[in-house]
Symmetry: C2
Subunit: 414 residues, 2 copies
């Protein structure tokens, strides 16, 4: 059973916003066994929307549409859908009640523009939106289902979870698809490919392997289609095999993150963490505090960008900075140990480096980062060279630091 996603909006085509909706919808659809065949982004243009709808309906049974439902004049999706189906508009009392409810809890009056949002094509079923002012719409014609949702991510997610997915699941029989993803850090794609060439050559035909590289990590995804019990047993055998082959680099599975895996390890062992960051500028703390429940094991951080703050806030001796430079094993080791003391934590990570674009020297080029991590038993440090892309350096240094601590704790038997 195939689906297509159509995302509507000039802002997607001129690149003013990144389409994060399609990836999220793709994940949700896959989890319940629907395959997304194609994603098409088109402009806020009548002809273009009409042809995208007509083409998709020739290829698949489910057309999921996002965007162009706002209250403003540039949004024409609803009007164009009515034209596509050749229908009039009717006023939907339930859609209007949702708008009223939303404005009431925000302490505001309904505007005439928002009242217009409760007008819908007469052949649609209203998908009630409790988190925004644009109702979702569900259409069925010639065996094809169309669901139209707002482009604002949290509204689209609300409608997918509460309206669209339940309806799709009850309407279509879902085949079985299983994905397992192994997450690795610290090895490049081609080296990984050579390491597991033999495994890949002997994969059965109903299981596929994909390499998904990102800043500082490579994900290995196995996908299987077929009879559920058979695929589950094949998959668990293959995952165990692959896991053994890449164990040195493996930090987790599927939707896990290095911060989340480390957080679990800390929580289970009653440990706590602080960070002392220079070049990563708070990104490690941000990754840790993005995890719900992190207040149980994350205590706090110092971010010391200036020399003075390294000394005054964190107590790194001025002489050590003067002798070795701020980007050095000695400074980063002092940072990590002082963070533990200052915040009273059992573990810590610290970074000091040159994110660039300025600040490089022949000895310490842009992208040089010293990382130190400390467990209850020991402190270790290493230097990495991460190149000249500032944001990439911040991200790779952050993930490398978290993974270093994770590996250190595991090497100590935790």
């Amino acid at each position: 059973m195939l689906a297509e996603i159509i995302t509507i909006g000039d802002e997607l085509l001129i690149g003013q916003i990144v389409d994060t909706n399609s990836a999220w919808i793709g994940q949700q659809m896959n989890q319940v066994g629907f395959k997304v065949h194609q994603i098409t982004s088109v402009s806020d243009n009548r002809d273009h929307i009409l042809s995208a709808l007509a083409e998709a309906s020739q290829r698949v049974q489910m057309v999921l549409i996002t965007g162009g439902l706002g209250p403003t004049k540039d949004d024409i999706t609803k009007k164009t859908l009515a034209e596509y189906f050749g229908t009039d508009f009717v006023f939907s009392q339930e859609a209007y009640e949702d708008v009223e409810y939303l404005f009431k809890i925000r302490g505001r009056e309904v505007t005439p523009l928002n009242r217009l949002q409760a007008e819908v094509p007469s052949n649609c079923t209203v998908l009630r939106n409790r988190v925004g002012t644009a109702p979702g719409m569900w259409f069925e014609e010639n065996g094809v289902v169309y669901a139209s949702m707002p482009g604002v991510p949290h509204e689209m997610k609300y409608l997918m979870e509460n309206e669209v997915l339940p309806r799709l699941k009850s309407k279509f029989k879902t085949p079985f698809i299983l994905h397992r993803t192994l997450l690795t850090q610290g090895i490049g794609e081609s080296f990984l490919a050579e390491k597991i060439a033999d495994f890949e050559d002997h994969l059965p035909p109903h299981i596929r392997l994909a390499y998904l590289p990102a800043a500082g990590s490579v994900r290995l995804r196995l996908s299987g289609w077929g009879e559920e019990a058979f695929i589950r047993s094949e998959m668990s055998r293959l995952v165990a095999d692959l896991q053994e082959r890449v164990k040195e680099y493996l930090y987790g599975f599927d939707e896990e993150t290095i911060a989340g895996v480390l957080g679990d390890l800390l929580r289970k062992n009653g440990l706590t963490i602080s960070t002392a960051e220079s070049c990563t500028g708070g990104n490690i703390a941000h990754l840790l505090t993005s995890i719900p429940g992190s207040s149980a094991w994350y205590m706090g951080s110092t971010i010391t960008y200036s020399y003075e703050s390294k000394t005054e806030l964190l107590g790194v001796p001025k002489e050590v900075i003067e002798k070795h430079g701020a980007v050095s094993e000695e400074v980063v080791t002092s940072m990590v140990n002082n963070a533990k003391k200052l915040l009273g934590t059992s573990c810590a990570v610290a970074t000091s480096g040159i994110a660039g674009p300025g600040g490089g020297t022949p000895d310490k080029p842009v992208g040089t980062v010293w990382i130190a991590v400390s467990s209850p038993r020991q402190t270790i440090a290493k230097k990495v060279l991460l190149g000249d892309n500032r944001l990439r350096t911040i991200q790779v240094a952050s993930e490398t630091a978290l993974n270093m601590l994770r590996k250190l704790l595991i090497s100590e038997g935790l």
Copy 2:
């Protein structure tokens, strides 16, 4: 002159990665006057790639392809392009030299898999890739240009900037397109629309307005097509008019960010900043330190998640926390003032709130955040209610805090 983008990879359709390439390519193409007509994401499947290429070539003159060029077996774009054009493979000495160069500076040996990457379809012009192992490829057939690039973002960007855009600009005449975007914070889309309804009703036909909402902000984009001098003069008149209408909410233009705008204001006035973060967990520091050159005005931060760290690291009196709670005007004001002292800065921002999902009470529900900002002259605080999405609350609180300080500094004549 129209272009389409085809992104290739199962990982896009199952939602394992978000397609950030298309937005970036869209921006670049627009800047030089090419219009992206459609973005299509297809799977690593021969038939699907072939039909996407054939369809796009019927609609536009430029087909930009990303993905599926890796060294591994799941990548079939190159093979499929050769089939599409009906050509053989040849060994490219210059592509091989680029692979050798890259491995040399990384201190590694070329693998047989990477040697294979230097094989290209005989009808292509190699686009030299100095930052990765997969060469780009340029094809021309029946008046349509095809450029194939790796999906890894920094490799794709390198090839677009150094090879694809220069070739497109010399091959096709570019019409004039001008976009200007006004960035607002602190007002919802429908309220903004009512505020500027009159402006929108009187827009000339060659200028369009679009609303682009994101977490905590709405961008207003004006786009004009036509004769350059005329469009520039029309646009500057309209931007000035719109700017006046939304001035209360406006923080910047085009690709600016709140952190960047605030950073410029600090730098120009010789001011410095620190942050004291609780619920935003380092995200404000991360936004500030993502700006190149931020070390000139950003000194450092404390992130105090635990009660103890608020007292011990930041000096918030224990009695104040006990009396008013950690999420209170008194605590956040103490945090911001102590951050200034501790880090010796002229300005500071502080946050304390409940990001959720746990920790809410009837008095202080999840999403309650106290924000304090301090200029050299004064400290102000306010409470905001941001709802129950943890990551959204972190982001909106961060941007609101930075914008509060920006507005305070401007109100003081800076």
